[in-house]
Symmetry: C2
Subunit: 210 residues, 2 copies
C-alpha cells in the first residue's frame, strides 16, 4: 500500500477530453480537434458538425475523438470551456440601464453572429455534457453580473434587496426567447428596448424578494 499511485483517482474530468497524460501528443490532439470543431462550425454550420467530419478535418482518428469527447455535445462543451476561462467582467457604464443595454448587446451578438452559442444550445437537447457545460457557463456569467445590481443599489437607482439574478434574467431572457425560441424577425434595437424595460421594472421594485 502506502504510495497512492494515480491509477484511478483523477476526479473525473475525463468528461471534457481531459487526459491523464496531457503532455505533448494529447495536448496536440486536443488542440487540433477543437480547432477543427470551431472551423467546421463557422464554415459549414451546426448541422455539418459530426464526430466524423471533425475527425477527418483534424487528422485525428475517429475512434480517438469518440473516446475522448463521446459526442458533438462533448466537443462543443470543451470548446466553450476553453473559451469561457477568461476575465470577463460585466460592463460598468455608470447606470443600470447602460449596463443592461451593454450586456444585451453582447448577448445579441452572441446569438446572431457567434455560431458557437446557438450550436451549444441546440446540442444541449441531445447531450448531457453540452447541457451541463451550458448551465455552468451561464451560472458563472449571472454570478459575475451580480455586480451590476450591487452598483445600482449603491447608487440608489433600485431598492436594496433586489435579486440580481432575477433582474438579469428579466433583462436577457426576452432576447433569448425572441432570437432562439421564436426566431422572430431580428429587430436591431431589441436589446435596448428589453434592457430599458428591465431597468424600469427594477426601479419599480419588481425584483425585490417577497
Amino acid at each position: 500500500m502506502a504510495s497512492p499511485r494515480p491509477t484511478s483517482d483523477v476526479p473525473d474530468e475525463s468528461v471534457t477530453g481531459r487526459a491523464r497524460r496531457p503532455g505533448g501528443r494529447s495536448a496536440a490532439v486536443r488542440r487540433r480537434v477543437l480547432d477543427a470543431t470551431l472551423a467546421q462550425l463557422v464554415q459549414h454550420g451546426y448541422d455539418s458538425l459530426s464526430i466524423d467530419t471533425v475527425a477527418e478535418r483534424s487528422g485525428v482518428h475517429r475512434t480517438t475523438v469518440y473516446r475522448r469527447w463521446r459526442d458533438v455535445g462533448g466537443l462543443l462543451a470543451d470548446v466553450l470551456h476553453e473559451a469561457s476561462v477568461d476575465a470577463w467582467r460585466p460592463p460598468d457604464t455608470g447606470s443600470l440601464e447602460g449596463d443592461l443595454v451593454a450586456v444585451n448587446h453582447e448577448v445579441y451578438v452572441a446569438l446572431t453572429a457567434d455560431p458557437v452559442t446557438v450550436a451549444l444550445i441546440a446540442a444541449s437537447f441531445r447531450s448531457e455534457q453540452a447541457a451541463e457545460a451550458l448551465r455552468a457557463f451561464w451560472t458563472d456569467r449571472y454570478d459575475r453580473c451580480a455586480d451590476v445590481a450591487r452598483r445600482a443599489v449603491e447608487r440608489g437607482e433600485i431598492p436594496a434587496g433586489t435579486d440580481a439574478r432575477r433582474l438579469l434574467i428579466a433583462a436577457t431572457a426576452p432576447l433569448y426567447h425572441e432570437l432562439v425560441l421564436l426566431r422572430a424577425a431580428t429587430d436591431a434595437h431589441l436589446p435596448e428596448l428589453v434592457a430599458r424595460s428591465a431597468a424600469t421594472a427594477a426601479r419599480a421594485g419588481a425584483f425585490t424578494d417577497r
Copy 2:
C-alpha cells in the same frame, strides 16, 4: 384547357403530411402515425422518437412516413398543428397579475409535464418544419393574449400604449429561460414570482412604446 383540374394546385400544405387524396386510407395512415408519435413520445421520451420507431409502432411503412413527414420535426409539427386548433382563450381572472400568473402556470405545466412542448423545441433546432410550426403556434398564442393587456388597460391597471406582446414575453420568457435553457432547479412558485414581476413592471410603464 378550360376545366382547371386539381392536378398541381393545393397551396403546398403537403408540408404537414397533408394529402391530396385525404379520403379513407390516407386519413387512416395519418391518424395511426400521429397516434403512434404521441404514444412513443409519452412512453419513451423524445430521444426514442425516430421515423423508424414511429413507423413500426404505427404499422405504416417506413418510406411512407419519410415521404409524408420527412423527419421527426415534421411529425411533431403535425401533432402540434392538430392539437393547437382549439378555442384556447387566455385566462380572465379580473386582474393583470392574476391573468399572468394563470398563464405562467399553464406554461409551467407545458414545460414540465407535457413532453410535446419540450420535444418540439428540441426538434426546432434540427428541423425547419418544427421551427416553423413552433413559431406559428407561439405567434398565435401571443396574439390571443393581447386581450389580457387590453383588459388591464381598460381597468386602468397599466398605462395605455402598453405593448401586449412585450408584456407577455416579459412575463413568460424567464420561465422558458430557467426551465428550458438553464434547466435550473425547478422552484414551484417561480411562475408566480415571474408573473408578479412582469405585472409590477407593466404598472410602472416598462412596456409602453418609446
